[in-house]
């Protein structure tokens, strides 16, 4: 038994915590940085604040990341992890109406990604892409391509089942993407800073988007007079 074991327990504990923390450092810093970058953007986030939120000193931050810019890149890379495998499986397993599938997907997307902190990454990338081209490339490859691929397959399923019709499949995917990106951008910008508050209830927004997306704005010959319409 080493002598250290004979030292007062507190010291032991603290030592252990310190060890644990030491290895967790980069992660804690990335966490803190994610929060702050999402909240304030790259330029307005102060290195010291990141360090403070991670519970370390300013100097320590630069021990792990050589510059604020590298920290930023690490934050984005760290958080762009493809959860696409899981999503693909779920998609493959889905049975039923394509309209329901789309309704389900949008809702699930919001609950699992949009509503959480992960959407902050998307906001971050889009907002700062211009000043960080390699991040943009990274994101494109890791998120956009697989994401658009999944969405395309969803539309194809609908078409194959004779439930959807689209004129231009490559661009139809944007009819699903645009509403999601818009919601994310608003959630992280105007919704949190306009004095009167920018009114945007996500659930209601998604419900409205999906229905319009499925059925369109145009009244159809056989349609019932649409009870809910507010003229």
């Amino acid at each position: 038994m080493p002598f250290s074991k004979l030292l007062p327990v507190r010291s032991d504990d603290v030592q252990a915590k310190r060890e644990r923390r030491k290895e967790a450092r980069p992660g804690e810093l990335l966490e803190a940085a994610l929060d702050l970058f999402v909240e304030k953007g790259f330029a307005a986030t102060r290195s010291e604040e990141v360090a403070a939120r991670a519970g370390v000193s300013k100097g320590t931050l630069f021990l792990y990341f050589p510059s604020k810019e590298e920290l930023f890149k690490a934050v984005v890379r760290e958080n762009i992890s493809g959860r696409f495998k899981e999503w693909n499986d779920e998609f493959e397993a889905f049975e039923g109406d394509s309209a329901d599938m789309l309704r389900y997907c949008m809702k699930v997307w919001w609950d699992r990604l949009g509503a959480g902190r992960a959407s902050g990454i998307t906001k971050l990338v889009i907002s700062e892409a211009r000043n960080f081209p390699d991040i943009a490339a990274f994101y494109q490859e890791e998120v956009i391509v697989p994401g658009q691929d999944l969405i395309r397959r969803m539309l194809q399923r609908g078409i194959a089942r004779g439930e959807f019709q689209v004129k231009d499949l490559d661009y139809a995917i944007y009819s699903l993407i645009a509403p999601m990106i818009f919601l994310i951008m608003m959630k992280h910008s105007l919704c949190v800073c306009v004095p009167g508050g920018y009114p945007l209830d996500p659930e209601r927004y998604i419900a409205s988007q999906v229905e319009t997306l499925l059925h369109g704005l145009c009244k159809r010959p056989g349609d019932v007079p649409a009870a809910g319409t507010k003229p």
Copy 2:
């Protein structure tokens, strides 16, 4: 007639040039500011650089605009707010099918605003709103409120004419806004920095969005088998 009138024309000319320059200054500065704000964002744009690009010195900028923020507001007024009058008139004067109106509006919106540099302002505001609440509030008031108002009236027109049906008018406007904002965000972020290039042809994008928006994804009972569908 005083002798001065008989002096060489040059004097007159130079005077004229000076006058012209003086009057042109604000415009030149606004041009330069627009370029830089769009390129670098609000925070990262340095006042001095705006001045330099307009061919004047630092001090001159502040002769015309009391602060960077006021300069930005002037850019917004010059490039966006000022156009609503014209748009409203056009809307009021429009005759014909509401679907055509929507097609026309989207196209015209792109040609006049979206395609130009002005759309960069929208991207900027959404990206940096959180750090500049004053700017966000200003933009909300000057652009978002009148813009959404116009869109709402377009939908109401369609409903009134029995051509559109919407369940939730307040949120249906986002079905028009989201595609536009998405296009703007992409145009000024991923589209200009992803190496391979983010493939997004605006015209085709808008055409696709509008048709889906009008008719929805779902195949309708009486629909012909949709020749254009690419399975």
Copy 3:
């Protein structure tokens, strides 16, 4: 008769006014500058504001005074004019009690100098003397020396008439000067900028100062119990 005489009268008038003004320019500038220097001090007074208050353009100011510093010096020199002749005469002519003379002088000093704008010069000189040694020298020679001389003679008169007694004549004069300078300084500083307001009623202040100056704080053996004393 020159043709100009046939021009509309207005022109004539304006021309005349302009002529008149042209010669008055330096004076108007000095007036404006006096006001502003007294109000804001040297550093905080902007040349442009002086020009604006004098009704001319910025450039014109520099036509008459080569720099802000020279303007400042001119302002002080211009306003340090000895009205001492008049005061001396009045002093020589005064008949009566020396205590009354002192009461009279203090009151008259306030009415004629202290209360007016002239006191601003004194405040100005004392406040800025350190940065303008030649102004200080000028003021010393033109104002302080003759002023102290007059005051000394007043005390001497009292002593000669057996009405005053002083131990140290050279310094006794400060017993008259200090209250005046203090009042001036306060009038132009704390009195006009402390939020709650610095309470200082000049008339009451002078009355109090004079009486204490004449009779002292110490109760005298034969004194009546001083009805007005507020314990």
Copy 4:
């Protein structure tokens, strides 16, 4: 005992020096600031110069004081406000004649405050109050109010003991304040810049002021013929 404790003393020493410097910084900065504020006034003192005189860089100054104004307030607290406790105690403890108390106080005031650099602060505030209302308000609260309060209590003590008599207590305090302020103003303006030198010996000035203040200028019936009077 860990081995580190056995390391050469040098490390310890250097550490100590660094600690000492860190703790000394605010003091060094306050010293430098006091010097410069007194010498040049508030507006004309450049932050960088304060830092330089304290032997640190611009940034370091703002590490200890968030703004130039806060630096100034700290200077005031350090040099003036902090002393009232001590003064009050001394006043409470004073035994003896009120005239002696007044003589003692004036002398002590000069020795401890007036003669030192701290009095320059008072001069500065009065000179620049109008441009820095916050500073004026702060000074009023921290220095003027407690100062006048102490003086009022001194007069009240004299009255209570039947030694002083005043007609208007609220204004009688100015009979003590005015001489002190005058001396301060002169010391920091004309006295240090008039070429020939403005002749003002503080000790003699105070002695003269106090005696006149106590006994007044007027000869009293029972007075001896005032040996010292120089006619």
